[in-house]
Symmetry: C2
């Protein structure tokens, strides 16, 4: 028997109470028992998204919600800016191309955050750009992009909206969309929401609603106008993922009970402890300047095979972390801090990483990382 | 305490073993533990769809798979025929319009099946029509459309494909897609597959693959070519609905163990028992000529309020059936026979209906329906 520990940035562990709620006999979504559950989810999502407007629930993965954030707000032939600093940034461009939107790309080195001035300059240079798409947290590089600063730039322009993929940001760090003027926020169920994958979420501002009125890109399943009409009445346009919505009610209640700012503080403390522990081990961070609190990308030291470290973590220690993708493949491991994680998940991650590195042939004194993590975790207790 | 009985045509009851499997700690879809589960699902789906080709799993409701069946096989401006004999038939036309396909509609009275000759005549009259979209089982009217006959018509035409929405047909009655030459078959998880909603499925023929090559309707999340490429390798393009796929493995094993033809026989026996019981009660069927074995639509007798019967069923007897939609609203109740249902679900349905009708003021002798159902259920035992 090996006790498995899941520490990848999604899917993340699902709390037992949510698993059990989802294992209850299924209910019918067109019958009266569904509406109170759905309405509680709607209220909890508004709290989570920090919006007075509606958060729409989709039966899809987060990518479906990303697609909806393009097709429902732009016109064929529109120009839109996107920040490409990782796998998920790149996806915005692919979605745009698939739907006849002209992408204007801002490339950012992997591990770096976008400079808001570059966005401002791009918008100044091309007044035809109608939207700025970016990641609040770029999961592939563990980078946090400057959401508030980007929203401040688009906020001054009546003809430009900003769209944050917050799939690993919502429920991880502060992102008050109404207050900051983030026009569209997208997330998914399998990250800080602590659920299995299968639900996408999207909320938009009154300004974005104006864009919606003129949007003409074809859509049906992800038609947000018809979906919103239904969901404001406590129903959905298509059959919803009922069991996941039952689980959603459970996890949203957990988030409310802890308090959103406490949830943020918890992720921040775990992320900080991990970062400092990694440095105490003599390692470096892949995204040292603007790290996301969703997960920490650790550079594998020279001469050690990152793929091998990840494999040892899984096979010898039953600990699942994420590796690097594309240009970061074999060079990093990514340790998650979002969702249903506690103090000793951090200790587990650091001690497992220390042991696996030594197993992989890295010369180091074990224990320095764990000691540093304990120091910070205790401070925050 | 009232013990709830769910007898609506989707969501249908989920077997306890599948509920428990889905309540196990979540696994990561990019790690080795996922692939054997996914591969077993792929094999089980081929068995269920009766195809040698691949069945693609989507994280969406069945409507997403319907959309994929339009956008991946047609070109903007193409003409496509669709059979509109109920709520779901109507949906094909709406999807086509949303994506710039010119719909050619064959209207069929609710409760009736389409005459294959009408399809042949429409294809003869307009050689520009490239596809025929219909429901194998139209859930809103409880009608079975003639799948084999329609496929025989399109099979003779190299430039026309046929597409069956089999959301309440797959796993209910025989639909050997390869043998009959049904080019595209679509289903969802919450019907005969006995799972919560949240998965869509689609399989297509080599002939349809040819159509795919020239299809130019924009798509991204539902791009079947990129999805198929990944799924043939045991992965998915986007994050899959992991917990539902874990449940899928369980229910597909149940279907294999029972044997597909036995599953079909079971639904057929329950459907026949229900239909004959209803007649023995002195009532009539909404779709007497070509009833689907997925569910039976019972005409509420004159002078009785159908909405009231449905309400009594729920509130007095805790039995959930479906009512009628649109023009059938208040006029019918629909009792499901698909998925995880047994002999005594039929007895429950009929006895509940008899009691509720009497409660609603209908003059009748209780027991005749139940007696008739027992006669048939015993024959089939």
């Amino acid at each position: 028997m090996k006790k498995n520990v899941l520490l990848a940035p999604g899917p993340t562990p699902v709390p037992p109470s949510a698993l059990l709620d989802m294992a209850l006999p299924i209910i019918h979504h067109r019958e009266p028992e569904f509406k109170p559950i759905f309405d509680e989810c709607r209220a909890g999502l508004k709290y989570l998204f920090q919006t007075e407007r509606e958060v729409i629930i989709l039966a899809s993965s987060g990518t479906g919600a990303m697609e909806a954030a393009v097709t429902n707000f732009l016109r064929t032939g529109d120009k839109a800016l996107f920040v490409n600093g990782g796998k998920f940034g790149e996806r915005w461009g692919k979605i745009m191309k698939a739907y006849g939107v002209k992408p204007v790309e801002i490339t950012v080195d992997w591990g770096k955050a976008v400079d808001p001035k570059a966005i401002e300059a791009a918008l100044d240079a091309d007044p035809e750009i109608r939207a700025v798409y970016f990641q609040a947290s770029e999961t592939s590089t563990a980078v946090r992009h400057p959401v508030k600063e980007i929203a401040a730039i688009t906020g001054k322009r009546p003809d430009v909206i900003c769209i944050a993929d917050a799939i690993t940001a919502t429920g991880v760090f502060d992102l008050p969309m109404d207050e900051w003027g983030v026009d569209i926020v997208v997330t998914g169920s399998q990250k800080a929401l602590m659920l299995p994958p299968g639900l996408g979420f999207i909320a938009w501002s009154a300004k974005a609603e104006g864009f919606m009125a003129s949007a003409n890109i074809p859509k049906f399943y992800f038609n947000l106008a018809s979906e919103a009409k239904k969901q404001l009445e406590g129903q959905t346009a298509w059959t919803p993922a009922v069991s996941l919505i039952v689980g959603l009610k459970n996890v949203l209640a957990m988030i409310r009970e802890e308090g959103l700012s406490n949830v943020h503080k918890r992720s921040a403390r775990f992320a900080k402890a991990t970062r400092e522990a990694v440095k105490a081990m003599g390692l470096t961070l892949y995204a040292p300047e603007s790290p996301s609190d969703a997960c920490t990308a650790v550079n594998i030291p020279e001469g050690v095979d990152g793929g091998k470290v990840k494999k040892i973590l899984r096979e010898s220690y039953a600990v699942t972390v994420a590796g690097g993708q594309d240009q970061a493949k074999g060079k990093i491991v990514r340790i998650a801090h979002l969702g249903y994680v506690g103090t000793f998940d951090v200790i587990t991650a650091i001690s497992a990483l220390e042991m696996a590195l030594v197993d992989a042939g890295h010369k180091m004194q074990m224990g320095a990382g764990v000691a540093k993590a304990m120091e910070i975790l205790r401070e925050g207790a």
